[in-house]
């Protein structure tokens, strides 16, 4: 499905990486990443296991140190201060980052308040994800894996981030959950947020995405945006 407007390098950029290298211990998980993501885009990251998709998402969240190269997310230079960006992003990772002993409601309230949002945002997220019924009072440990994933997603929704980082978001969700996820992602992008999503569920995620890139060997192919060339200036076809 062709996107409405071709993203170009002239548009405001949410993520900008140039030759970024990042280490996990001594292993170079990111071996020179060049990536641009314009605001409002939904970028799909494909690639084999171990390629560095998760590390790239974590790097955008400011969780991973950038050893060399440039890395800028939402205007914050990650090589200087990784903390500044964290309140403005939401990461849906492999672990849930939830507190098992607390209830759904408590977890969401904490997630909202920690991001500087009012507690009501947590409640709203709970509603949106269909967790407000009998589930909301249960400790997270008692939920199934799919339900926990919904709570983790709700925690991201509650924070209202400018940049969404979704790592295999469709995994463990049932069909209704996946539809809900797609709707939420589209709404967020329409409202101006940027979404980076790593997925193996190519059919589903491909419909969602406005752009695709492949991560292999710690680097990103097709990561950069095309230089602007407005359609009017294209050379006329020679008949």
């Amino acid at each position: 499905m062709p996107p409405a407007a071709m993203p170009t390098a002239a548009m405001p950029v949410a993520v900008r990486f140039r030759a970024a290298v990042s280490l996990l211990g001594r292993f170079p998980a990111l071996a020179g990443v060049d990536l641009d993501v314009a605001r409002g885009e939904i970028l799909l990251l494909k690639g084999p296991n171990g390629a560095g998709k998760t590390t790239l998402l974590r790097a955008c969240a400011g969780l991973v140190g950038i050893v060399s190269g440039e890395a800028e997310v939402l205007g914050c230079d990650l090589t200087r201060d990784r903390r500044a960006v964290r309140r403005r992003i939401g990461l849906l990772g492999h672990g849930t980052f939830l507190y098992d002993e607390l209830t759904v409601a408590d977890n969401l309230r904490f997630a909202a308040r920690a991001a500087g949002r009012p507690a009501a945002d947590g409640a709203a997220a709970m509603e949106r994800l269909g967790l407000a019924g009998r589930l909301h009072d249960l400790p997270v440990a008692k939920l199934s894996a799919g339900q926990r994933r919904r709570v983790a997603l709700a925690a991201v929704v509650a924070r209202r981030p400018e940049l969404w980082l979704l790592d295999e978001p469709h995994a463990s969700l049932d069909a209704a959950g996946r539809d809900l996820l797609d709707a939420i992602v589209r709404e967020a992008a329409a409202a101006g947020a940027t979404v980076l999503l790593a997925s193996h569920e190519l059919d589903r995620a491909d419909h969602l995405a406005t752009r695709r890139a492949t991560v292999v060997g710690g680097q990103v192919q097709d990561g950069l945006l095309a230089v602007a060339s407005p359609p009017e200036r294209e050379p006329a076809r020679v008949p």
Binding site: G62, L63, R86, G95, Y99, R113, A114, A115, P139
Partner: protein
């Protein structure tokens, strides 16, 4: 910073209220240690009252170690550092919140343990206000230093053995000062109440230094890999 601290402390204490690890595991452990000491030192020899203060504080120290380990273990399991960092909360605030929650739990434990010592070791309780001061200052120091080293060890594979190695030597002076001060107040040895003051000052200095150190260093310590 304080807003974040209150949020984190509230969260930690709420988790404790739900899971009851401190009440169901740490508190019985502390009492068990008291009982084991009585076995080891042969309760009939009549020395228990004299050594009671020292044994009390050793027990508190080990319980503090457990409390700190729990404080970091509850942070989403092995993603301990990630969960805290992703929250976007201020490092100093997280430190004060976590140390505060540990301190609160330790203080409750100390009150109950003191009752245990009075009963099991036949100690006469005197100068309770003074003792309360000693407890507050020593606990602040234990919680602050413990939370700093907890952050160093959090998320590492060797954390269970590394944390005691880091934590216990640093807290040796707190143990010394708290035990000597308590003895002076209780009159179980030949020292008088006035002798307690230099020790109390030392506890105050230690707590202040480590709380300040934690506020500054906790954020950077979390920012590892």
């Amino acid at each position: 910073m304080f807003r974040d601290a209150v949020l984190v402390a509230g969260k930690d204490l709420r988790i404790e209220a739900r899971s009851r690890v401190a009440t169901n595991q740490v508190l019985p452990f502390a009492f068990l240690v008291l009982i084991l000491f009585a076995f080891a030192l042969d309760a009939d020899r009549g020395q228990l009252a004299t050594v009671a203060a020292g044994l009390f504080w050793v027990t508190v120290l080990f319980s503090g170690l457990l409390a700190v380990q729990r404080s970091f273990a509850l942070e989403a399991g092995d993603d301990a550092r990630d969960a805290l960092r992703l929250s976007g909360l201020d490092g100093a605030g997280i430190f004060l919140g976590k140390a505060g929650a540990v301190a609160a739990q330790l203080l409750v434990l100390e009150v109950l343990l003191a009752a245990g010592v009075v009963v099991l070791y036949d100690v006469d309780l005197r100068g309770t206000a003074f003792l309360a001061l000693i407890c507050v200052l020593a606990t602040a120091g234990i919680a602050a230093a413990g939370t700093v080293y907890g952050a160093v060890a959090a998320g590492l594979r060797v954390r269970e053995t590394l944390l005691p190695l880091l934590f216990l030597p640093v807290l040796a002076p707190v143990l010394l000062a708290a035990a000597r001060a308590s003895e002076a107040v209780l009159g179980t040895t030949s020292t008088t109440m006035a002798d307690a003051w230099p020790w109390v000052r030392l506890l105050g200095v230690f707590s202040t230094i480590y709380v300040a150190f934690g506020v500054v260093a906790f954020g950077p310590l979390l920012e590892e890999a």
